[in-house]
Amino acid sequence: MKANRLNRLLLLCVFLLSGCEDSVPGSSQFFGSNNYPERLSEWGLVWIDANTLRIAEDSFIYTLNTPLFSDYALKLRTLRIPKNQKATYDDNESFGFPVGTVVSKTFFYRSPNGQSVTLTSKWDGTLDNLDVDKLRLIETRLLVRQETGWEALPYIWRGDDAYLKVTGDLKELPITGTDEKIPYLVPSRNQCASCHVTDHTKGLLLPIGLKARHLNHTKTVDGENQLTFLQKTKQLSGFSSPADAPANADFNNSEETLDRRARAYLDINCSHCHNKKGPADTSALLLEHSGVDPRSYGVCKPPIASGRGSGGLLYSIVPGEAHSSIMPFRLGSRDPAEMMPELGRTLVHQEGLALINQWINSMNGRCI
């Protein structure tokens, strides 16, 4: 089997020279749609070495101004742009990426024993401070840019590698120090599309976080702006300067305005569906960071087809009255028939919910 795979790989390299031109140690591999490897380690993007998580030298670790909430999982995100090629900058949309780009996102928790997961820990984003024995690695999701577009691949960790499982998985993760378990959903390849097909009409998969407003910050280890870094390393074209690019707030940063923090939070957690072309345009609730009038982002807006997701309440947002507003009701619910987002969490994000409550309670006006 192993030999077969290597043969296939060599054959593939003949056809896809761009992906395999430099198979030096530490650099990643690229595979065509029909040859995706079973083991994540074969990509050479993320692997375990000497009890430490390692990433390819040709990859770049990135973070977002405000990240999506995923049941308090920690996330390692890497971007691999093929050598001598560039992404193209856009002010609003997902950047354009060349064929051969691979985005990876590894979901993990700190764990005292490799089994139960700890929900409260923070991570500074550096790999050196992670002791794999004190982690529970769950899954690594890849977005792979082929000629025909992006493809999504879920890999599930078992032992010291992760294995491709296109149908996803449902894992019960015990929470450290409690009797509770998280029913953690590893999305199937199709469920990846539930969020990543942000334009439902065209039906094309796209990265969500790789947009200017999410990446434009300097919270990197060396304090350099991420977009500036990509530009300096000749991996990004069309970008002028951080000051000219949009930047969402960090939802946790109390020095930012409540409005910017809340809109940033809704943008990354909701707008992949709740945008004018997204699957949730059926609800007419639009939660992008800007360019949306208050009624469309929920102020005095009645629900359309929410079922019991409305919680018996009349409007998404009632100014000054978070307790009468559907939005915090749905963010605070753990019932799949009521909660939002529909996919990607089973726990309540207390910090996010507190922010949305505070934001709504700070609004003036009333609904008639």
Binding site: V197, P303, L314, D335, C367
Partner: protein
Amino acid sequence: MQLETAKPGDVIQIPEGLFNFKRSLVMNSDNVTIIGQGMDKSVLSFAGQIAGAEGLSVNANDFTIQDLAIEDTIGDALKVNEGNNIVIRRVRTEWTRGPDVKNGAYGIYPVQTTNLLVEESVAIAASDAGIYVGQSDNVIVKNNRAEFNVAGIEIENTTNADVFDNLATQNTGGILVFNMPQIPKEGHSSRVFRNTIVANNTENFAAEGTAVSGVPKGSGILINSNDRVEVFDNEIKDNQTANILISSYFSANFAGQRELADEFDPYPEHIFIYDNQFEGGGKEPGRDYLVQLKNAAFGEAGEFPDIIWDGMTNPDKTASKVICLQNGDAKIFNLDLPNEFKNPRIDESSHDCELSKLSEVILGES
């Protein structure tokens, strides 16, 4: 599940048997057909579901699903969100414990589709609508059975829908034709004909705050804020609020009184009712204010006429034909909502008009 890896052109066979799922299924490939062995033989059960908002969620064109059942989902049973050429045939969606507020909202739920056919299907005990067609164009809903739902069949913000030869019974409301505000697509042009709409008197078990929670039990056909609706050749009987209700968005007890966007048309207009068979009904209206209005006008032992209307008309369009009635001795009772129910009355002659008939929906010609 093979569904999750379907490729264009695939025909997925679901064998006979009961298949249990803990999470929702998602299908996004165009030109896929899912075929079971029969709606009582191939059963996808979500009774143990702990993740996902639907049973089966589809975003694809040229999609056909037939001969299977989807039971006991946490949320909606079958959702098709955007797609052209959709066929849902002999599919049963059911919550097996019967009417319950904890049931999922929609059974068969195509939304933003074009060229949609829903036929010979069965929808039971949805806490919103059994068969709900939303924001779609060019739609045929025929030969289905909807029972014990809050709304049996609901056509909402949809254009060019033919709804015929269906049976709607023991729902809270039998067949609803609605328009809701703030949706990009405004609905009009539906024909509701040759249906049997009998004894839809089930207590309303919808979640509070939802639009259908305002539907009075005992509603046969309910038309709300929609235009160009043609209702003919139906058998409508023993619906104890009224066999037909026509209301504007302002009818507090139908839809909840809420703020409206300026561009939304809250008035039902160009409603044409003819040649239906009415029998019974109107004896026990499902709202207190309706009981009082009925008792005041017709006595405690009396009943509403076959059609009741809230009487709201667009003040800017007084000349337009709101409701035309050519249905033997059937009468329209005007509740006089504009004057806070001061002068409820049978409108004797003002609806004696005709409207040009809508054309038949032909699939594939949208």
